[in-house]
Symmetry: C2
Subunit: 331 residues, 2 copies
C-alpha cells in the first residue's frame, strides 16, 4: 500500500488540488499559491494558513515563547508579503499541554501582540485544545488592490530573477542549534531562525509599482521555491551560484557544516525573503527601491523557456541541474 512517504508533501498537494477543483468565479487563486484570493466588488481578500508543531518546526529548548508567538504570526505575514498585500486579521488555534506554565502562554501572547502591533493586524478569534505537543495554527486574512497583486505565475522568458536579503542564514542557524545547542551557537544566525522578519513593505512596494511579473517568498528553500514559481509560470531559469547573496556570518560558519558553501542558501528553508521576476528595463528602479528601503535586492538569475528547466551555473561557468531541490515533508 502506498504511503505518504512515497508521494511526499508536494505529491500530496498535487493530489489535493485534483481532488478539490472548484468553479467559483470569485475565487481568483486557490490551492497552488501560498495565499488564496477571493475577489469582492471592492477589493481582493487574501487568506493564508500555517501550521507549526513542536518537535517538527520548533523545539521548546531553543526558542523562547515570545519569539515563538511572533514567528508564528510572521511566517503567515510573509505569505501576504509575497503577494504585495496588506495583512489585516488573524485567528489562532492552539494545542497546549496541560502542564504548560502560564508565564509561557503569557509571553507567547506578548510576542504575538508585539508582532501584530508592528504590522497593525488584529487577533479576531481562534480555538484552544489540550494537546501533548504545542500546536500553533494561524489563519491570516489580508487585503490587496485588485490588479495589483503578484502571484507565482506571471514570469516571462527574459525576465531577471531577484531575491531580497541574504539566504541560508536561518537554515544554517538551525543546523548549528541542532549540533551545539543554544549556548554554543552564533547569535546572528540563530536569530534568523528564531526571529524571522516578513518583507511586507518591500512586497507592497514591488506590487504597487507593477515592476515585477511574479513573486513568492523563500520559505521552503531557494531551489524549491524557484521551482514552484517556474512551474506556475511555465518557464525555466538559471541561477548563478556565486551571485546568491550570503551574509558574512554565513560565510564564516558554513564550512564547518557542509563542503558545498551554497548548501543552506540553496536548500535551507525559513529565509522568508522575497523572490521575484521583473523585465530587464526595471533594473534601475529596483536598485533605487533597494536603496530607499535599505534592503539588499540581488539579481541571481534569468528566466528561460520551459524546456531549459532549472539549472545552476558555477563560478567557472559550468552548468548543472540540481539533483535534490531540498527538504520535503513526509519523504
Amino acid at each position: 500500500m502506498k504511503g505518504l512517504s512515497e508521494i511526499g508533501e508536494f505529491g500530496l498537494i498535487k493530489r489535493i488540488r485534483k481532488w478539490t477543483s472548484t468553479t467559483n468565479p470569485a475565487l481568483v487563486k486557490g490551492i497552488g499559491d501560498d495565499v488564496a484570493v477571493i475577489e469582492s466588488a471592492e477589493k481582493s481578500w487574501l487568506i493564508t494558513t500555517d501550521l507549526l508543531i513542536e518537535g517538527i518546526h520548533f523545539e521548546r529548548s531553543w526558542t523562547d515563547p515570545f519569539h515563538l508567538g511572533r514567528k508564528a504570526l510572521f511566517v503567515n505575514l510573509s505569505d501576504i508579503a509575497a503577494m504585495g498585500g496588506t495583512p489585516k486579521y488573524f485567528l489562532i488555534s492552539l494545542g497546549l499541554p496541560k502542564n504548560l506554565p502560564l508565564p509561557f502562554i503569557t509571553s507567547f501572547y506578548q510576542g504575538l501582540k508585539n508582532g501584530a502591533k508592528r504590522f497593525r493586524v488584529d487577533l479576531i478569534g481562534g480555538d484552544t485544545s489540550l494537546s501533548k505537543k504545542i500546536i500553533i495554527n494561524i489563519c491570516l486574512l489580508g487585503e490587496g488592490k485588485k490588479g495589483s497583486l503578484l502571484f507565482r505565475s506571471g514570469a516571462k522568458v527574459g525576465d531577471d530573477l531577484f531575491v531580497s536579503g541574504t539566504l541560508g542564514d536561518a537554515a544554517l542557524g538551525l543546523r548549528i542549534l541542532q549540533k551545539n545547542g543554544l549556548r554554543g551557537s552564533p547569535k546572528g544566525l540563530v536569530n534568523k531562525h528564531i526571529s524571522p522578519f516578513p518583507r511586507i513593505h518591500l512586497g507592497q512596494a514591488i506590487a504597487k509599482h507593477h515592476w515585477a511579473t511574479a513573486m513568492i517568498d523563500v520559505s521552503d528553500g531557494l531551489l524549491i521555491d524557484t521551482h514552484h514559481l517556474l512551474e506556475e509560470s511555465r518557464v525555466g531559469a538559471h541561477i548563478w551560484e556565486d551571485r546568491i547573496p550570503l551574509s558574512t556570518r554565513y560565510q564564516q560558519w558554513v564550512h564547518a557544516f557542509s563542503r558545498n558553501p551554497y548548501q543552506f542558501a540553496l536548500r535551507g528553508g525559513e529565509d522568508y525573503e522575497l523572490l521575484f521576476t521583473a523585465p530587464p528595463e526595471m533594473r534601475r528602479r529596483i536598485s533605487r527601491l533597494a536603496l530607499s528601503l535599505k534592503t539588499p535586492i540581488t539579481k541571481i538569475g534569468e528566466i528561460l523557456p520551459k524546456k531549459e528547466g532549472l539549472h545552476l551555473i558555477r563560478k567557472d561557468g559550468r552548468r548543472y541541474s540540481p539533483s535534490c531541490l531540498g527538504f520535503e515533508h513526509f519523504r
Copy 2:
C-alpha cells in the same frame, strides 16, 4: 507557578481576550463569539476555526477517514449556522504521520469533498506538515447579510429558550465507544458522534425572519453553551429538565452509564444543535418553521434577570444550580 490546568480553557480565553483587545471599527465581533465578524461595505464576513487532534478529539480506531473529513468541516459549519450565515470557503491545515496509508488520506478528502459539496463550500488553501498524531485545523469563511446575523448576546428577560433536535446522543455514543469499542456499540448514537450534521438551513431561516434574539450552537454541552449565551447577553435562565429533548435510543442506553438520565444531555458535547432565544410572541412561527424543516424545536427554558443565574428545575418542581457545567480542556 500557575499552570494551564488551574485556569482552565475558559480562564485562558478570558485572558487572551484581555491581552488582545482591538479597536478596529470593521471588526463587529472578535474573540468571545464562535465566529469573528468583519463588516465591509457590501456584507459581513464570518470567520471561524476549529482544531481537531487525534487522541484528544478522535481515535483512528473509532472513526473512518471519510467521516473524519466530513466532521472536521461540519463542526466549523455549525459555528456559521449558529449565526445564521452562509458558509463559503475553507482552508485546511493537516499534520500527518509519515506512515499514514495513502487510501486513508484519499478517503479523508472524499469525506471533506462530500461535506463541501453538500453545503456548496470551496476548499481554497491550506498547509501540510509531518506530525506524530493526525492534526486537522480548518478555517472557514462565510458571509451574512448585515443586520441579519445572530450572536450570543441579545437574549432578553422574558424570552423563551429553544433547542433543536435531541441532546446527549453524541456524548453518550462516545462514552459507549470508549467502553465497548466500535463493534459493541449502538449505531445510531455512535453515528451522532462520528457524523454530526450542521443546522445550516435552520440557522439561516431563524436569522432571516428576525424571530430570535440570540443564538449559539451546542458544541461544548447544553449547560456550558447556555452559560456562554447568558454571560454575553447579561441575563439568567432556568431550564426544565424534563423538557430537554432526548432520543429514544438515548433513553434506552443512558441508564447503563449514568444514574442521572440527563447527564449526557446537560454536560455532553458535540450535539451541534442550535440553542436560541426568542420572545413569546414568536412561538407559533417557530413551531411552523420546525414543521416545515422537519426539525424538532423544543422550548426548554426561559430567560430571567441576570441575578437569577442559571438553574435547572426538576420534574417535581425543585430548583437547583448545577455544580459542574461540563467538560473543559486543561482542567
